[in-house]
Symmetry: D2
Subunit: 158 residues, 4 copies
């Protein structure tokens, strides 16, 4: 890959450099096994689980802004879906994987900056499906989004 060189990097503005920095740190995090996808790596998602609620912490920087300068609704959905999916796979039987089959989100406040926290909690645990509740709070404790999702439990490939 010849095109990736110092010349290109020197031409970046500060905002772009910050984004590349965040992406490179994400690569490092993924190599070390702290995240399992480029999506959560690039958005610097970190998760905690207390046995009941799964919590993802994620910084809001220009990398997630939409054209209005607020957090893109799709990336808010990504944070919530990641929290829900991580939880679903933690509580699913070992031989099964959980995949999102449906997701409904309400956006209740714009997110500008600072860390956000995405939470997920099981509402219903069936034999072939789960319903999970998720929500996002801003650093100031304001609820910015609320969601519920359906997850299908499928047999893991052996």
């Amino acid at each position: 890959m010849n095109t990736l060189n110092q010349l290109q990097l020197d031409q970046l503005n500060d905002e772009e450099k910050n984004i590349i920095e965040q992406v490179l740190k994400g690569f490092e995090s993924k190599r070390q096994g702290r995240t399992t996808s480029y999506v959560s790596a690039m958005y610097a998602m970190a998760h905690e689980f207390d046995g009941d609620t799964l919590k993802i912490t994620m910084p809001v920087t220009p990398i997630v802004h939409n054209s209005l300068g607020i957090m893109h609704g799709g990336i808010t959905a990504t944070a919530i879906d990641t929290a829900m999916g991580t939880l679903a796979n933690k509580v699913a039987p070992p031989a099964m994987a959980a995949v999102t089959s449906q997701l409904n989100l309400h956006y209740t406040a714009p997110i500008l900056e600072g860390d956000i926290y995405a939470y997920a909690k099981v509402i219903h645990h069936g034999t072939r499906s789960m319903v999970i509740e998720g929500w996002v709070e801003t650093a100031e404790g304001k609820r910015a989004a609320h969601a519920t999702g359906s997850f299908a439990l499928i047999d893991r490939k052996k």
Copy 2:
């Protein structure tokens, strides 16, 4: 920003280099005004509008994969929300901006690779809100997701 240097780039593996390439091309696209956010820039979204349906084309590469190696449901939501939001803002009255207030998605098939196409079409156009339908098709023409969303029309800041 001293930490961003050739040394770091040389240590990247091919998959990571491809991602950095895609991100740098996105920066270029954003600087030239072809995209208006880093989100659509980094995911290389391109849109077309025929006066009725808005279509976004987007490549599926490891940058959008989840830990199962298929397209992350949140990024599918991002493609659909971007198509819907772009459409909503095109058809909204000039003095108003459209923001997602609610989004419901059904995931109907996993997305592995190739380009995907996200479509959006207005279902209901009210004075303070819109309902928009969106869906994603794979390169093979399979419907991978179907969504409906509510958009609030708010006065643009002057």
Copy 3:
């Protein structure tokens, strides 16, 4: 049941008598096998199927009004869910029954009177689930509601 007598009926006002009339006609319709539940019987639902779209016709009378004098959102949901469920069970494999697992509705216009038409169409037909689209139009052709629903295919009891 001694309490059900002519005395009670004589005390009803005209609106109440009309409702009792509608309910009694529904019983007749159910006895004759034209409807299979008291819900569709009492609301005088009639359905047609053209091999693709299922259509339910239903009169809007005070029996379905909410306290604001417009059609109750739950009864609109009932019309749509009935259209979707009837369709789902028509297209499901013979050994399977389809049950609603999730339903999302957008209400786009109030319904006052006249007949309404609830439509349902399959969006996705999987092996264990379906996604179905439904909508309601007023007698004037205005879209009053739009919905999508997930249906689980379960083995019929033998």
Copy 4:
């Protein structure tokens, strides 16, 4: 209305008589102002409000069964939408009415008989809209449905 006479009533079977009884009791309840619509009257809904959560109690009888002999998903939606809407109008500013603009439901267990309890609680209270959470529990305490809804606040007609 000549057609409504004792002859018709004598021909009803026990199940039908029970339904007519329930409907007539509902009329009485509505006349006395305990319910404000025929929908909640006929389904014998009673509500309580503790300042935070609104609770509706409702009996499950054949009047609400679908063709499979379980509670019709649309009527479950009606119970939840009634709980949410009643709550929304209680907490809305006096000059405003709340109308459902969107409703998403997950069905998590079939409802066979006994009383059900539909609950509603405010998640987000904005100036022009609210997001409300609702759920249904069976007499045995099992969660049979979970929902979230968007309500638009509109100026009351003067």
